[in-house]
């Protein structure tokens, strides 16, 4: 029965089109082959409880089914990259904390290492260990925020409060270490500013002992919860090939079955010295991404444990001049931030300020996958998929 021509264009083809072809997605003119009043164009955001900030997603709906999406970003644009051109290398370091503000330590690590690489200096081993400990703690904290908000989007309120309760312990360690909780500015170019406080190792070990049962608590609430599984399994599926084509990195890529983690692939800081595994998924759906991130928290705990047990003595600051003036040249350095590959491309003209600084934010790149992940799903799944990509708008818009 071919009276209704809509099915060829809207429904059946959506899945096949999961390549990057966006030509069939025309949001401005209604689909002429299908006179359906159910076709609805809805603005999700910028003020919407589930878009994690000020993301605006234009949804084209047939009833509740998503025919296409268009992300409108920039509501939180602060011109971070441009600011870099007018600040010295040292002065710019605090700004990167404001990009992915739930993983400020990771941002700082990436920036400091990039500048170090540009200047050809290296942080001393003790500084590297401190960096690893704090960064992995930050990874856990970031994943906790992801879990809480993701679960809240899907309708489970309680995990949010559990994760925030436990994140507090990490923030306390940060606060004791450098005085700040959220935008820490923990590292400096060439090492760390501060020596660890007395009892740092004990605090970290206490946290590890405290947190291990808490992950089980989260999992008890969600992993085998029927509703949770039904809401996440086979939702927002993305294939490994699509991930690679779009440049998607981080847990999203690993959940699709690609074992790619910069900590192993291009070890930076002290990661080469630790024994840990890269969890991967098989289906590339929301549930796999959930499992991958839960396992990543456990692996982070393993890394922290090894680091805190083997932390060497010694200086914490490398040989860096007072005024940072890298030689002329350019550098790209990337680290595995909680959300994926966080890269810094710095062009130096030999002055005290970067000639150009470009950030490759994982959230921004991963957000591109939203469209092919949600097409053909329902409105409720859009919310789940935005949550599972784990974006922070400060980083998307910069």
């Amino acid at each position: 029965m071919s009276v209704y021509k809509d099915d060829q264009t809207s429904d059946a083809s959506n899945r096949e089109h999961s390549s990057l072809d966006r030509s069939h997605l025309d949001l401005d003119t209604p689909d002429k082959t299908y006179l359906d009043s159910n076709e609805l164009i809805i603005n999700m955001g910028p003020q919407h409880p589930a878009t994690h900030g000020v993301l605006r997603v234009i949804l084209k709906l047939d009833g509740e089914k998503v025919l296409g999406t268009e992300c409108v970003i920039g509501y939180l644009h602060r011109g971070v990259e441009k600011i870099a051109e007018n600040r010295t290398y040292t002065m710019f370091a605090p700004y990167v904390d404001r990009m992915d503000y739930v993983a400020a330590v990771s941002n700082g690590l990436g920036y400091c290492e990039a500048v170090e690489k540009l200047m050809n200096v290296e942080a001393p081993p003790r500084a590297k260990y401190i960096r690893v400990i704090l960064t992995e703690l930050q990874r856990i904290a970031s994943h906790q925020i992801w879990l809480g908000t993701h679960a809240l989007d899907i309708g489970a309120m309680t995990p949010l409060f559990y994760t925030f309760r436990d994140r507090e312990e990490i923030l306390k360690i940060f606060e004791k270490y450098c005085g700040a909780r959220l935008t820490t500015h923990a590292f400096r170019i060439g090492g760390c500013q501060y020596e660890t406080y007395a009892g740092f190792e004990k605090d970290v070990k206490n946290f590890l002992a405290f947190f291990a049962p808490k992950i089980d608590e989260y999992e008890a609430l969600l992993t085998t919860n029927r509703i949770w599984v039904e809401r996440t399994r086979n939702v927002g599926v993305i294939s490994a090939a699509d991930c690679v084509a779009l440049g998607v990195t981080g847990p999203v890529l690993r959940a699709s079955g690609v074992q790619w983690d910069l900590r192993k692939a291009q070890p930076y800081a002290a990661y080469a010295e630790f024994d840990f595994e890269i969890p991967t998924g098989t289906n590339g759906d929301t549930y796999d991404r959930y499992l991958v991130r839960m396992e990543e928290m456990r692996q982070s705990m393993r890394i922290i444990e090894q680091a805190v047990n083997g932390i060497p003595e010694g200086p914490i600051m490398g040989k860096v001049p007072k005024v940072i003036k890298p030689p002329v040249g350019e550098i790209y350095h990337s680290i595995e931030a909680p959300k994926g590959e966080l890269g810094y491309f710095i062009v130096s003209d030999g002055s005290t300020q970067p000639y150009r600084l470009r950030v490759r934010p994982p959230s921004f790149v991963n957000l591109q996958a939203l469209d092919i992940m949600v097409r053909g799903l329902l409105v409720a799944d859009v919310v789940a998929v935005i949550g599972t990509i784990d974006i922070v708008l400060g980083e998307v818009d910069r």
Binding site: M1, Y4, D6, D7, S37, N38
Partner: protein, 187 residues
Amino acid sequence: MNPGMNAALNSGMAPVATPWFFYVLAGMAVISGGLVITLRNAVHAALALIVTLLSVASLYLMLYAPFVTGVQIVVYAGGIMVLFLFVIMLVNIERSSKEHRFNRIWPAGLAAACVLLALFVSAFVKGRALFADRGMPLPESSNTQQIATMLYGEAGKMGQYTFAFEIASLLLLVAILGAVIMTKKKI
């Protein structure tokens, strides 16, 4: 008649003033019935129809037909009208509210209806004696049970309407299938 009722009657308090209730309910039914066919907006018309349905349900209650009242509320007001509202929202287009409410032949339609009304009036006037109130009290408390007996029959005996009841269920089944097939985009 129970003691409480006796006491109530003895103390000079009449039972609920039924004529008043009848006129109020009948007025509501007819007025909102008129609104159904005159209101421009379909949702307003649906709301008016709900008022009509509930008034008629109350009239059933006054006629000692509580079970029909219950069915009317559950099926009509709770089920069919929600379906109507659902469809109105699905096909909600602004265009229809700006167009003419009535079709081109509305004078003819109105005239035909008036003729029908005249027919009714003449029938009522002529046959007034036929409809004298025979004052047959119906047992209200066993109403549901008696209807059940007529529909399903008693032990070992088929009821008077059992066959019709089965056919009605078949009708519903066919209607469900028809509705599903017609609204499905691809079969």
